[in-house]
Symmetry: C2
Subunit: 709 residues, 2 copies
């Protein structure tokens, strides 16, 4: 084998030469004013204290440094080669990087697959092939580089050499789009978010956003990672990064384009509409504690309250305001965001009230009224100090109006004196507080939103994701059921229910009967009314085909129904048999589903069911694997939480039963990768429990679990 493998073993170590380089070559380094090569090399000259090499075949020196004709002529194997040559030359440069033992490359220029041309796509494919063949870490093409403030180094042109560097802090930013990433970076700088790391990944011929996310989460200085991605190319890496962030109590914030309205619908599966990629990404983020920012403003807001790493012990907020009106607005916003503004106890009210005029309120919100302007200096600070040290609140929101309140330094002193989150809202000019590292906001509503997010993060379960155990013996029994329908488009209902029962989903009592007499016998053996259902591989939706008779009691009725449904549904279709099933009366109908998302894999859905499922609104999704606690939490959000209505909804025992059913579907998804989808609708909630009365299971070829991965 003449192929040399470059780069280190672990996916994180692999990126160390890229993002923490000790030596960098810039191919295309230049002096032409305004050119990207000039900017990229100028950035190294400004910040980078490691060894740097300009590569330029037409110049002896670049920006005062001795230039090299080619990457093959450098005096050492460098950690990183920044590639700023025309697209057509890039594959050759990468090949020579491998030859010379350079350890990674960042391809900055455009002209690849983003052009939509064959030439561009071909060039990128060649770069990808080289990266894969030699294990060379390649970032880009079509991006603008990275910034590592901890080293420091600006590799590329995400900032110009003469531009202000961000104050280095705990925030990392990762963006697929270079231009957009730069914009986020600049906005972060302008609002004093402390950014320590930034990288753009462009067309992602090799290294993708998920890889860099994984890298960033592991950096000890990083507490918050903002990401912008149009596609998640490596979902497993993405999930691993998310899980690791949870473990380390770091926060990922995803700025994500809104879900597409055009959701892929499986043709056969009648509740397929309940799983679509946008919704699955929502569910994944929810489950892995990833925040979603709908705008750059929100990203900035969230980063501001998260960058100091403080957490709230609960959701109780103490509010100080000099405007009653603002207090009302904040209280309304807080209630909407699930925060509490608890009334302080009498003692605390006296303690704080002693500082206030008699007509001011110390209940919470603490309303100093406009009299604040005439209070002794330091009063506001003393109010905030007394409130923040009171264990009846978990965070403080301190509103001051323009021209009022304490100076920035004294508020900063209080901020540093306590570990509890303190969000000042100086409304007009937050700059002085932001400069001092306080999470200050101009807009009270945005401050409340950010505090609610901090409370969410503080309350995230940190246990990590529980893998679903695989039981080989059960899988083997399940495969015997599946085998009976091999080469069929779906399982007969009776087989589907056997499969469901095997995975702990309760099903109605039933018997598949080959003829009328055995149907009558089976029916009469059941106490109460029965349903008859024609089973045919031609009829996934038997009721539409007249293959269903409900609520039968007498032998006469059963015989008549048997003949009718076999005649109607049997016209032109092969009837396998007739299912005799107990009638189940229900006060509430649910639906369960299992789908496989093309990106994230198996997803379990639960929501209201019955014939109105298309009207009743979207189900709650759970990405597999998930814990019992997570399942219970998801159940509690069905119909915006109304499902737990004490009279009409699910009692505690039934919530546990439903969680078990969901975990059963998750186990099925993992043990039987060949099952494409499962739909259980309705799952009838009865007085004593729940029973599935219909189920549709579609199985494909028997994929091995590794294909799933």
């Amino acid at each position: 084998m003449s192929e040399r493998r470059v780069g280190a073993d672990s996916p994180i170590d692999r990126l160390v030469p890229v993002f923490r380089p000790e030596s960098i070559a810039v191919v295309g380094a230049s002096e032409t004013p305004g050119s990207l090569g000039t900017m990229a090399y100028g950035n190294l000259k400004r910040d980078f204290t490691g060894r740097r090499y300009p590569v330029n075949a037409r110049r002896a020196t670049v920006q005062g440094d001795r230039a090299f004709r080619d990457v093959t002529e450098l005096p050492e194997s460098v950690d990183l080669v920044l590639v700023l040559v025309p697209a057509a030359d890039v594959p050759d440069v990468l090949e020579r990087c491998v030859e010379s033992g350079h350890r990674s490359a960042y391809v900055l220029g455009a002209g690849f697959s983003e052009t939509g041309t064959d030439v561009g796509r071909d060039l990128q494919a060649r770069a990808t092939a080289l990266a894969q063949k030699f294990g060379l870490p390649v970032v880009g093409p079509n991006c603008n580089g990275f910034l590592n403030g901890y080293q420091p180094v600006v590799g590329g042109f995400s900032l110009a050499p003469d531009e202000t560097r961000p104050r280095v802090g705990s925030v990392a930013l990762v963006s697929q789009s270079g231009g957009f990433g730069s914009y986020i970076l600049n906005r972060a700088v302008a609002t004093d978010v402390r950014v320590g790391f930034f990288a753009s990944t462009g067309n992602e011929s090799d290294v993708c956003v998920a890889d860099v996310l994984r890298y960033a989460v592991e950096q000890p200085q990083v507490k918050v990672v903002g990401m912008f991605a149009e596609t998640i190319r490596k979902p497993q890496v993405f999930l691993a990064a998310a899980e690791r962030a949870l473990e380390l109590d770091k926060v990922i914030i995803s700025v994500t384009p809104g879900s597409s309205e055009t959701v892929a619908r499986a043709a056969l599966s009648h509740t397929a509409s309940i799983v679509g990629s946008g919704e699955v990404y929502d569910a994944v983020c929810q489950q892995y504690g990833i925040l979603r920012a709908r705008s750059i403003d929100e990203l900035i807001d969230f980063a501001l309250v998260l960058q100091d790493g403080r957490r709230m012990a609960g959701r109780r907020v103490g509010v100080v305001t000099s405007s009653g009106g603002a207090g009302v607005l904040v209280a309304g916003n807080a209630a909407g965001a699930g925060l509490e503004i608890p009334e302080l106890d009498r003692r605390a009210q006296q303690d704080i009230g002693a500082l206030l005029p008699t007509f001011a309120s110390a209940k919470n919100p603490i309303d100093t009224t406009a009299a604040l302007g005439s209070m002794p200096p330091g009063t506001y600070g003393e109010i905030v100090s007394r409130l923040i040290s009171n264990d009846q609140v978990d965070a403080i929101l301190a509103l001051t109006w323009y021209g009022e309140g304490p100076d920035a330094d004294s508020l900063a002193d209080i901020y540093r004196a306590f570990a509890k989150p303190l969000v000042p809202v100086p409304t007009l000019h937050p700059e002085a507080l932001l400069e001092r590292g306080l999470p200050a906001f101009a807009d009270p509503t945005r401050a409340v939103g950010a505090l609610a997010v901090l409370a969410d993060v503080s309350g995230r379960p940190r246990a990590g994701i529980v893998a679903t155990p695989v039981r080989a013996e059960r899988a083997a029994r399940a495969r015997r059921i599946l085998a009976a329908s091999a080469d069929k488009p779906f399982l007969l209902e009776s087989s589907a229910k056997q499969l469901l029962a095997l995975y702990g989903i309760p099903v109605a009592r039933e018997t598949a009967c080959a003829d009328e007499n055995s149907a009558v016998k089976a029916a009469l053996a059941m106490s109460g009314r029965v349903a008859l259902k024609v089973q045919s591989y031609d009829l996934p939706h038997k009721s539409d085909a007249g293959g269903l008779a409900l609520s039968l009691e007498t032998e006469h009725d059963i015989r008549a129904a048997y003949r009718k449904i076999t005649a109607t549904a049997g016209a032109g279709h092969v009837v396998e048999n007739v299912l005799v099933q107990e009638m189940v009366t229900s006060r509430l109908e649910l639906a369960l589903g299992l789908q496989r998302d093309p990106v994230f894999g198996p997803v379990v859905a639960v929501g209201l069911g019955g014939v109105l499922i298309e009207i009743l609104g979207p189900p709650v999704l759970l990405h597999v694997p998930f814990s019992a606690d997570r399942a219970l939490a998801a159940i509690a959000t069905i119909c915006d939480g109304r499902i737990t209505h004490e009279v009409r909804g699910l009692g505690e025992t039934q919530q546990f039963q439903l969680a078990d059913a969901l975990l059963g579907l998750a186990a099925l998804a993992v043990e039987l990768p060949e099952v494409v989808s499962v739909d259980v609708n309705p799952l009838m909630v009865t007085a004593t429990g729940m029973k599935a009365v219909d189920g549709l299971v579609i199985a494909g070829h028997a994929r091995t679990p590794t294909e799933e991965g």
Copy 2:
């Protein structure tokens, strides 16, 4: 009668002396540095060109002007007296204002009902009594005054004399809270929203936010009114202002504290939970085209795109961007906000594409790529011009990155050359564009949100609110039905259905039967199965009391059921009779309701019904009166629009039937003010129409329509 009436006749003319004064006295005018009296008089000195009079008993001159000892000693009856004296002196000052024939008063100081003290409440009650007795318009107390930039005059201390005045434009701001209002005003100034009018109303002893809203809407210079109110004291004035704004195509933006979660529930009425004041205010705003801003940022954003009065002909947006990533984010946001970004036709693509590099996209979003930096000057402007003049789009969103794109002047030229909305998003530094009057945004997501609001406003029905016609003959018949249950807590179901039928709500066929034999006779006369229902004034919820038997077919079953339900439900209760009703099979169950909101009066509700109503989510509310079109629009939003699902939901004919039923309830609400509430649940949707199978009507004393307001 010795009482002199002051002030003019119409509610708008009444406020002219306050907000467009030609002469102003300031009681409490001062020279003490920093005092409110100094600020208020200083403001007059700075801006006001009318006649001004300082009133101060202890000084011969104030700020160089001759001072007067008292309002009774002024050389003329002034339009407006600004009152800045201690609360205890205010009633006397007001009385002397009336005596001297002054035409209005603005009471700025605190110390009234907001203190929560008896003294404060008493002082305010005296001010209110004086205002009412003499018709003297009194604004305040406990506020900071007003600004009329069209005159100009700053009356009070919402801005200090040395503070920058807003650039005068088409935006008016009205706030109950003075401090909060000032903050909004300052934020508007900081973001270059052009404010022409501002007023704070404080404790609203006489003049309230709705009055000032009504005034502001009528001002010819005003196009947009932002309002902040904790309470709507005069709902009819508020609605009149809203209706007038619709007529004049002006826009009211309400910054409203979030709805309280504690919704008043009527004890007896089983769907009472569907109407609560917060939700009613939402419905009113929706119906009257009032925008809701969740934050001051949103208020500013909306005002920015609305202040030039431009409208969109549709919801199609043309986007120009130099970052593909930003284009994706914008497209996602736009889809979420119901905006379209249509692909341009081939001709337009060629027209615009001719200006772009080959690898750039002219489809829409038009992505110049980062190559924009190297294009000839003027290219970006030319792209925007060609796009804005194309009738395939109704508005333009023009994103430029920091340092790129056209200078502010050339973009301003394009803006002025076209009447179509153009929103530039220069991302980092919108200031230069804002100064030139363009609605520029830093955040692309917020720009999209504002454009969506502009599209909503542009698409508002302008027809005004249609009054519900009153039919006296029908009302008389209805009152005969109501009379049968006078002094009872509710109407028997059979009476309720008669009443509903009278107002066009289809009901099930039924007969009230006094004994078993007539019940059997009535049942057998109906084809198909029947239900038996015990009717008793003791049992509003008969099914819970065992007073209900369903799906009966044979005489035997009917007799057995009759005996059982009368025995069970009759135990301890007076049974009036037994209702025999046809069984109605339904594929969809709806619920209708009528409630009377304590603020806004009658509200009609419609949503999914049946036994799961508490789980199925909130209904859609309609404030009475409403038009048939509005009813249809509301129906189309049930379950987020899924109710119109072609297979499971309501077809077009049924939507019309349902709209008629809602209009019927509205007519009932207006004709029968004594009806407190109506609940129809379920309203069964059948193959051919719909039928109410249960109804609960609660009537109070026969109020006259005038009491209804």
